[in-house]
Symmetry: C3
Subunit: 376 residues, 3 copies
């Protein structure tokens, strides 16, 4: 079979595809990459009141993130210290006074400390103070909940906010979207039969946009050129078509523009890849927030929220045309990722896939990942 | 993360949970523990007539147990000696004269010997005597069918009856339940998403009773204290509530009491764990018999029979309230086991679960198992 | 357990059954046996016009076989050279002018060469000539499409036609069935829970015929004797019953006889095993063609076509009784194979299964396979 000559510097090699189908590779990625970074697991607005909680799959672990009485958040492993039962099965709920393991009724405070157990004195005694739930580092920032399994975590600002700053140019820009006060108007969970790296690669490039996203390139004509806005200069947003009134599936007007945005920002779209597990999409009247959970080498869950200003949602506007634009984009993308997963399973294909110039920046994912795995 | 101090002797460590999710561990357990012990596979009353058979999964093997013309039972592998086909697919049935492999019509007598084959003389000839089904040791005792894959099996009385004797104090007590003449009035199969060891641990302790078994502790108030009757002195039975007329879901009267029981036994419940794969529950008017089959590290089938005296069943009494009591207990237990299985899958949890004093006797399971695996 | 004495030369040992359940064994078989031989993947008549294609699973690889403008066929891996997406998802279809990967719209000519890509000059440039689809060897012969992943393939005539010649005695006999002009009147896909070797072994012998194929032995009384026609002398066909008018499920007449057949051939059935993945069944008025795809150690897809002369199909005859005969045979066979797969999973069975004289020729499969694996 013909070997590809890589003499042309415009064609970079894609990484070996065995890493897209091998359970051992995913295990190492979970341990060395996902478990050590700050992972997006939800929105702070999902847990407004003390005792409100979400549970999330963080690098294969079930983690509780729960609002404290002082308004802060804490996170802990969702495993009872007594006999190891999963304590909370729901994705979201409220435990106003305590968390109680249903198996033997051991109960824990909102901070995870052991409060009580049947026959407390006889069964646990002075060991009570050592039998709290295992703590996990958590931060609430940008209106979101972030968790890391790393005991001595990376600096959050340098790591997460740094990626946003690097893309937008300065913190003030991000501030104008007021992420901390937006609320989710709609959420969709997608079950994608593809490796998580295919989903990140797909999000990072726009060379495919004109092929599979007719609605998106109608809204944002620049995308016909195939260059992703995040591959261009820092702070570049991709302009809304002159023929469209808003970022909607059919170009009709969306919701009122967020009040702080500059004039340019009111007509532009900003896509941001946030390693390890989320994507941020800034529009003038809403934000689309993706987070994903690798479930198996060939299976990834993607949770997508459409965020709006609370006042814009208050009179029950029709957000359908707004949601449908990115819902269609998501489905188009995930179908393409699933086709690549099918190709990745080949054992005889040379896998000398190429990255064209408009895709060169995809190497960043693989460089970050290789660095993480090297340190494992 | 906080390490548990084990300085307090009241807290014993639970075993490592990787043994609850690892297929290689289950393989070793099947080979070294289940295959070498006497396994409960059914009731003798299921196969009253010569040629009646049951098939059972014994440590991963399909085994036929079949009634002989002299009234005894024999067991053999359910695999044709010709080309290896499974001969009998049903869980229960009757082959009055012979067992016939449907593939090439090789036929075997009730004792497993090869009776015939198409073109017998040309195809098999004098080898006929060597081509019987592979024999497996079987015993009928206590009204039950027991099988072991061990060629040179443990003494049945010392091994199985010994466990019953050790619990009840003497053979006479067991005799008063007349197990050999009871018949099954109801059977339920449960498919449980948990490792078999979680199911045994759960059955052995009652520290969870007040948390998840409201009907059971209403019937047996002693269980509110959290101590399993089998963890107390030999021969101890747990008394029926003064407010209940029988061991039923709502306290109404059950069936007539078994005639030989002592006055104490007429108002008590006796739970017995029978290693490796069964539980016996003695009540005044019925016996609940569990047996389980490990199907995968995280999946176990439990078969539960409600046994009654034949004369008590003869006029079609309402056994519903009796069956419903332990059916509810089973479902409550298995849901708890499934929560523990979810916790066992964690890779970062320290797994320093603790056994409180009311659970210390659970170590017996792990000691027995460790001894079996050490001899592998 | 009793060991089989193999002193009797009439009883040959079956191969070890671990090779029927082990994924690593299947991997080696795919690589060393299936990938290196000529595999039947379809009929030429399925792709009459340039641009018509079929896709097939060839030793785990998705392969496109596509009709060229000059009437020949070519085959290539179904993986885009850009980012590795599967290009065609359908089992059959038409790409009259080009094949286009839907992900980024790279397009390929019918010969697999890269025709175009968005921003062609900037993204690919002079590398275009190296970026065609990976070619796979293909041949159209006997009206069928054949593919091999071997870069330097076996001589087709010696390998495939040789097996047909060896069975029928000469090329002229095969020619009288005019395979190249027959068309499929019916196709059924069977999903069989058995290892592919069980399916081949089953097809090769007829010792089971009187046990499970009542309709077949009614049509062909010779099969009651248990000897497969292909195990007898070269060129032997098995005669239709004097009481049957045709090879149909109930003995009624079938379609008009193929015009070139000899008088003997007009009343006979010829079964041919074609290594590695197909079976040919010649009747007087139709041909039944099986091909199979190993999907897992315990799962195989079998595709079965009933082929007829086009003129015999032209007036819409009732082919139901003809199709039903072999459809029943297939279902009876595959159920038997599934029973053997259940037996193969045993870990304690001695697996000293025996081949009786009427099955000795099954060793040929294992000899061929062992030779292929030895060369791996």
């Amino acid at each position: 079979m013909t070997a590809l000559s890589h003499s042309d510097p415009r064609l970079l090699a894609c990484p070996d595809r065995s890493g897209y189908t091998d359970p051992d590779v995913l295990d190492r990625e979970l341990r060395a990459f996902f478990a050590r970074r700050w992972m997006l697991v939800g929105r702070g607005a999902e847990i407004p009141t003390p005792g409100d909680f979400v549970t999330a799959d963080v690098a294969g672990e079930s983690v509780i993130v729960i609002r404290q009485t002082d308004g802060s958040v804490r996170a802990m492993l969702n495993i009872c210290r007594h006999r190891g039962a999963r304590i909370l099965l729901e994705q979201r709920g409220s435990c106003p006074r305590m968390m109680r393991c249903p198996y033997h009724s051991w109960s824990y405070g909102l901070d995870g400390g052991l409060l009580g157990a049947p026959n407390m004195r006889d069964s646990v005694g002075p060991e009570q103070e050592h039998l709290g739930l295992q703590q996990v580092c958590a931060v609430e920032a940008h209106g979101c909940l972030w968790v890391t399994l790393q005991g001595d975590p990376d600096d959050f600002d340098a790591s997460v906010t740094g990626q946003l700053r690097e893309r937008l140019g300065d913190d003030a820009a991000l501030g104008r979207w007021e992420l901390e006060r937006l609320v989710s108007g709609h959420q969709i969970r997608y079950d994608v039969a593809a490796n998580w790296k295919l989903i990140v690669e797909n999000f990072m490039e726009c060379y495919h946009c004109s092929s599979i996203h007719p609605e998106l390139v109608a809204a944002i004509p620049e995308f016909r050129g195939g260059v992703a806005s995040q591959a261009l200069q820092v702070g570049h947003g991709s302009a809304l078509s002159d023929e469209a009134a808003g970022f909607t599936v059919d170009g009709r007007a969306g919701l009122p523009t967020l009040p702080e945005l500059t004039e340019t920002e009111q007509r532009a779209y900003y896509a941001i890849t946030l390693f390890p597990n989320s994507f941020v999409n800034l529009f003038d009247d809403h934000v689309v927030l993706h987070r994903f959970v690798p479930l198996a080498p060939g299976r990834t869950e993607v949770v997508c929220d459409w965020l709006f200003a609370p006042e814009a949602l208050s009179d029950g506007p029709d957000i359908g045309p707004t949601v449908e634009l990115f819902d269609r984009v998501n489905r188009q993308d995930f179908e393409a990722c699933e086709r690549c997963q099918l190709g990745a399973q080949s054992r005889v294909y040379a896998h000398d896939n190429v990255l064209v110039p408009a895709e060169h920046h995809l190497r960043r994912l693989h460089d970050e990942l290789a660095a993480a795995l090297a340190g494992d």
